[in-house]
């Protein structure tokens, strides 16, 4: 058993992969809480796809180094977010349509750019589904710095981000700069996606953002706890997914996401109070409420 656990750890690429997967799991969990609560899953998926042309340019220029990839991806992500905002604010086109147009267009541009490279298929697969075992020490350092920065920002702006997410009207009445916080969230999302790229890739990043946070939301009624649980589930999925990939010999990105999905399925079924089995077999609740419950309480 101990050998089974330690065996993969003799490889340095495996150690770096594990560290990267844990960092990505933590950041995605923390920020994913806001993605889930603000209903930004589609936007998150779209941004993940829309960074591909930036990644492609960074890749063609830098030959695979993390720095150019990161800046290219970040610029493309922020550009996509601003473009979506501009199109939907014109009032002529709904926001989800705008998201669909921008993200598919940019994704196509990204694939087109990568197709000019010589080993097209291998590179594209790495961008689409991640290549966590190819993480270099420099990549890992950059990932750690950015992950810390995002967690720090979420903590520093905690109460403002909470108010803008829960009650945008209150945020406006308290004269908070709501547009600033919206763009802050989008930029943090773009950075997180670029970090997550190396572990699970463009196509599966949204799973790391949404699935652990959704599972966590079934387990708690406090936002800080939800963020911590989501971070834990994300990190644990990273570790378990890599072991799964090592022993079953499947691609690492999909393995991580599958473990995430399994975590969600378990909580969806067995979560206390809100799991399917719990609500199915629960007797009539013994109500201690002093007033008549409203419709919103009849779950």
């Amino acid at each position: 058993m101990v050998n089974w656990l330690l065996d993969p750890l003799q490889y340095e690429f495996m150690l770096r992969g594990l560290a990267a997967a844990i960092l990505v799991g933590i950041v995605c969990g923390v920020l994913g809480a806001y993605v889930v609560l603000r209903g930004m899953a589609f936007l998150g998926d779209a941004l993940a796809h829309a960074i591909l042309p930036g990644i492609a340019v960074g890749y063609l220029v830098g030959g695979g180094a993390q720095g150019p990839l990161f800046w290219g991806g970040l610029i493309a992500g922020v550009g996509a977010a601003i473009g979506i905002g501009a199109i939907s604010r014109s009032g002529q086109i709904r926001e989800d349509t705008a998201i669909g147009i921008i993200f598919s267009g940019m994704f196509a541009l990204g694939v087109a750019l990568i197709s000019t490279a010589r080993n097209f298929t291998v590179d594209l697969t790495h961008f689409l589904f991640g290549n966590v075992l190819g993480v270099s020490p420099a990549d890992l350092r950059l990932t750690a710095v950015l992950a810390a920065l995002i967690v720090l920002l979420v903590a520093a702006f905690y109460k403002e981000l909470l108010v803008t997410a829960f009650d945008p009207v209150l945020a406006t009445i308290l004269r908070l700069p709501t547009q600033f916080y919206r763009y802050l969230l989008l930029v943090m999302l773009a950075v997180t996606i670029v970090i997550a790229l190396q572990t699970v890739g463009v196509a599966l990043t949204v799973a790391m953002l949404v699935t652990p946070a959704a599972a966590a939301s079934l387990l708690t009624r406090r936002l800080p706890t939800m963020m911590a649980l989501a971070a834990f589930i994300g990190a644990a999925s990273g570790v378990l997914g890599l072991y799964l990939s090592y022993y079953v010999n499947i691609a690492s990105g999909p393995a991580i996401v599958l473990v995430c999905t399994a975590f969600f399925a378990l909580t969806f079924l067995f979560a206390p109070q809100r799991g399917v089995l719990w609500t199915r077999f629960r007797r009539e609740p013994t109500s201690t409420r002093s007033e008549t419950p409203t419709n919103s309480l009849q779950r």
Partner: protein, 277 residues
């Protein structure tokens, strides 16, 4: 991007100015009929006022203009003598259908949100903030439910939490959008007790409702709205047969009974969209 607003100072108060002054306020959404049509009025400190009128009469729009979150298409909205949009002293209790009741926040988390602007950037709740939150929960009688998730409360309790949030904000003007809709009589009564308890401290209160009887019984003045301001004053001056006919038209029937004229309206259930769940 309004980055420069991060450190904007809230507007000051002119002691002589009315709490609310609307001058020729018109609001038009898109290009259609105006939601508010040339409304002018003044509200004095400590008044408790009900806004009544049929569905879509512009009640919510008027509250939003006063709150400074809806810019008038023309005209001017002042609070304490300065533009409404510059103040952080305005408390707003949203319609229940506007709130995500599954959001993972507790009762005291919601009340603490009222402290956000007072705390300032990069500050976490201190002793004073926690004390104020405790006192306001006490004031609305929600102390024992402070750690409940907000979706676990009854409708009346939910309204009280949002009143506590406005009080924690140190609001001097309280705006409530249809707070009584869907509440049973005891829950409504609890809210009126809180509003009465705010009278000694001269809290100005503006409440929209479709319940004409409650509006006439419980408030100092009534505002009858149908895009235009049809009447603003004591109930007996505002709720005349002629005014009601102009406000409600075909939706209002006048019935002569032995005890006087009775106005029957069928505008119930405004804002009562079903929640998910």
């Amino acid at each position: 991007m309004d980055v420069k607003n991060i450190a904007r100072k809230p507007a000051s108060h002119e002691p002589e100015a009315p709490v609310v002054r609307l001058s020729d306020v018109t609001v038009t959404y898109g290009g259609g009929e105006p939601a508010l049509d040339d409304v002018s009025l003044e509200i004095r400190r400590g008044e408790q006022i009900a806004i009544v009128g049929p569905n879509g009469a512009g009640k919510t729009t008027l509250l939003k203009v006063v709150a400074g979150i809806q810019e008038p298409s023309s005209g001017k909205a002042d609070v304490y003598g300065h533009e409404a949009s510059g103040h952080i002293c305005i408390g707003y209790v949203p319609q229940r259908s506007q709130v995500d009741w599954k959001f993972p926040v507790t009762v005291s988390d919601v009340v603490m949100m009222g402290r956000t602007a007072k705390m300032g950037l990069f500050k976490f709740p201190g002793k004073t903030d926690r004390r104020i939150v405790r006192e306001m929960l006490e004031k609305v009688g929600m102390t024992n439910l402070a750690n409940r998730q907000i979706g676990e409360l009854s409708g009346g309790q939910q309204q009280r939490v949002f009143i506590a949030r406005a009080l924690a904000q140190e609001a001097e003007l309280l705006l409530m959008d249809e707070p009584l809709t869907g509440l049973d009589t005891p829950s409504q009564e609890a809210i009126f007790e809180i509003l009465d308890s705010l009278r000694p401290e001269q809290m100005t209160v503006l409440v929209s409702t479709h319940d004409l009887r409650v509006a006439a019984e419980r408030f100092d003045r009534l505002m009858l709205l149908r895009h235009q301001l049809l009447g603003f004053g004591p109930p007996e001056d505002v709720l005349t047969a002629e005014n009601l006919q102009r406000a409600y038209g075909a939706h209002m029937t006048m019935v002569e009974t032995p005890i006087g004229t009775m106005a029957l309206s069928d505008t119930c259930c405004e804002g009562e969209e079903p929640h998910d769940g």
